[in-house]
Symmetry: C2
């Protein structure tokens, strides 16, 4: 687990004034993305967010401001994906963080500030791409409250699968349809079986939903057949982003027996552009909710004293921005708020379980946390839970109602950490907008 | 659907005598792989099998023997993966097939034969790698007999999922652990719940199995949100290989609720090195077994007159080669034999279903057919079916018994097509060997 160091000092300030205002990207955060000038034909390259600016890592690598492994790390970020940077490993990731912190801190020499200033682009002028060539995408199911909420809807007598307390359940997802924030998501066509119907119907999904998740990027992997032990698991994680696992509930229910979700999920997944590093998240750890775990975990998942992992207190919100709200200048509306700290399984346990059978992870792999729902009212991370499977639609402030998503709806995920004595650091935003289905008559 | 042409002429002969003997790789086959000289540090590059030789496509591209789109296609094959070749599309694939056929046919000029002879490497001296950078791997479940066999074991009153007749069921698989024939597969560690037990056990899987499948390589994909219609679906397929979907049945049963198989499958998948093209398979089409389909399919899967697809009569066998057989010079033993023609869903239906919700396929994606089991005795494609979930072990000729696989067992898949008036063409072999688990005490 990362030790706290000078880069976590809540009192540290940047010479860039915008980085000292309340926002997602103070000096203590320094998340990574790939970006270019919006609507340009420039090559995408790695960048680090600071205040309302992006440090262009390709420009920084050329600037001569960096030396040693930090310089090597910045040079690896000059490509359109961060895989080569990930391949350098934790020491290089940390060296670049430390160097950027020093360059951006208010006591940096004025010549340094001027040289670094030449490497900045305003975030408002940038567009992003997927930060990694993702080899495999695995979606977990680690929220006890989500599992119970869903279970109570469909299996009220036996809501929780008996394996839930014994392993972080997961399944493989689709890589090709993962897009970055701003993605336009076409409502999927598919089959479903209406209640009481003898034969399935075909058409545009009528029960389109979002799922609030964290995305977890694997920084470095393992050889096939060689599991990663819990004690080492977190060192294999580079950082996290926001992730919306769009889900068609009608398609999902009909297709998922016996092998799990397929078309209900694989039409789109949206991630936020910025990856907040495990180093930046270190101050916001809290004890893992051990009390609700099974009485005796299998040894490869056991972390009784939180030495190897622990939970992360990441505040999370889901906002809905409807077409009518946009047309009439209305504000987006918050649908839920919770924290990642409630998850039943930790990042380290997810990595240890994923590899225990010998499956090889690779740098750039993406794990989804599964829907994040907290224990309280208004803490559910999907409409199916908030609306009791559509039976109790949400009433929006402008009079609209939502059982599930409608065309034109944009879903916005937000996340941040805050703690007395430390900076507030944010994950930025993950936005995706539903567009109408193709005609079901074609094809 | 591919029209038959001169390259399918069963009477055609090659100037390479070995190509005219009974074997997998006559002039009419011309399958693709990537290869290099065994145990060398050469770069892998594309090759085409002919008789007992490989045509080195990088050497052929330099030879000056090809022109136009065939030359362009061979040049694209000079890389260590065939993705750039796939990206050229069906016209280029076909041009290279036609050109290779002409160069290898017995009426090729002697100067051509000499020049091409300089591009050959004996298969016995070659080693292979995965032929594609696989973006996503999807495993289907398209055998009615397999679904019934499995269903009767675990749900005797209701063996078949009600959606089976309405869609080709599928789930996403793991790309990183796919290996090429010759793969050594470490027995996975994992959890399972023994019958009657209150808590799961942890250790090396005791119910390790193989699954006989075809692998189907997507040649060209579709844009996200734009389904591929059934009429166009097969034009997106490049060809097929043999695929062993190794499965740990004890782990699978305990983990698969509610989201499907995960660690039970993701520790390894083995494919054969050679990809037999859809062009080469054209003569071996048979009518799709429409009679057993649901009475009225949804329109996007409907192909009543087999215009757009049809079944493929590919003969398939599974052989077991145990450590004791090898030590005592005993022969490998055939465990089952069937044909791909019994599958309930066609390749075109698999592609149309996969994309109907908007999921984007990409060139180089791999689809698994799902376990291929035929209707008769000895036609099941997995031990769990052949042994009634281990209750009726197979008796091998040397006195060994097998409920499931033991350490040292090698599983060999073979496949070929034959039909009066046409050549016999084969898929080569897919071999994988089980090695002992890591100690369960570690990690």
């Amino acid at each position: 687990m990362t030790e706290l160091d000078a880069t976590h000092d809540g009192a540290a300030r940047s010479w860039l004034a915008a980085a000292n205002a309340v926002g997602d990207f103070p000096l203590q955060n320094l998340p990574f993305s790939v970006f270019r000038l919006r609507a340009s034909t420039e090559a995408f390259r790695g960048g680090v967010a600071i205040g309302d600016q992006i440090v262009d890592l390709a420009a920084l690598a050329r600037s001569g401001l960096l030396h040693g492994s930090a310089a090597q790390a910045a040079a690896a970020c000059a490509q359109n994906r961060l895989n080569a940077f990930f391949d350098l490993g934790p020491a290089a990731w940390r060296a670049l963080r430390q160097a950027l912190f020093a360059l951006l801190k208010d006591d940096a020499p004025s010549a340094t500030q001027a040289a670094l200033g030449a490497c900045l682009l305003p975030q408002a002028q940038a567009e992003h791409a997927l930060p990694l060539q993702i080899g495999d995408y695995t979606d977990f199911y680690t929220s006890l409250d989500h599992a119970l909420n869903i279970g109570r809807l469909f299996r009220p007598d036996d809501p929780l699968s008996p394996n839930f307390h014994w392993m972080p359940i997961a399944y493989h997802g689709r890589v090709s349809s993962i897009g970055v924030s701003g993605q336009r998501v076409r409502r999927p066509l598919g089959q479903w079986l209406a209640d009481g119907a003898a034969e399935p119907a075909f058409g545009a999904s009528r029960r389109l939903d979002y799922e609030l998740e964290l995305g977890i990027y694997i920084g470095s992997g393992n050889a096939q057949g060689e599991p990663i032990a819990l004690a080492q698991a977190e060192a294999h994680v580079f950082g996290v982003c926001l992730l919306n696992d769009w889900s068609a509930r009608d398609i999902q229910r009909w297709e998922s027996t016996p092998l799990g979700p397929f078309l209900a999920k694989n039409f789109a997944t949206t991630v936020s552009p910025w990856i907040v590093t495990m180093d930046a998240l270190a101050p916001y750890r809290v004890a893992w909710p051990r009390a609700v775990q099974a009485p005796a975990l299998l040894h490869y998942l056991e972390d009784a004293d939180n030495r190897h992992s622990g939970a992360l207190d990441i505040q999370l919100e889901v906002w809905l921005d409807t077409a009518r709200q946009r047309e009439h200048g209305g504000a987006a509306e918050r649908l839920s708020r919770t924290s990642f700290r409630h998850q039943h399984w930790t990042l380290a346990q997810m990595v240890a379980h994923h590899t225990v059978g010998g499956c090889n992870l690779q740098g750039g792999d993406l794990l989804g946390s599964g829907t994040i729902s907290g224990p309280g009212e208004g803490e559910a991370g999907a409409l199916i839970e908030l609306t009791q499977s559509g039976r109790k639609p949400l009433e929006l402030g402008n009079g609209e109602r939502r059982g599930f998503l409608e065309d034109g709806d944009a879903v916005l995920l937000k996340g941040w950490c805050e703690k007395p004595g430390f900076a507030r650091i944010g994950l930025g935003e993950c936005r995706g907008q539903v567009v109408a289905a193709r005609s079901a008559a074609g094809g």
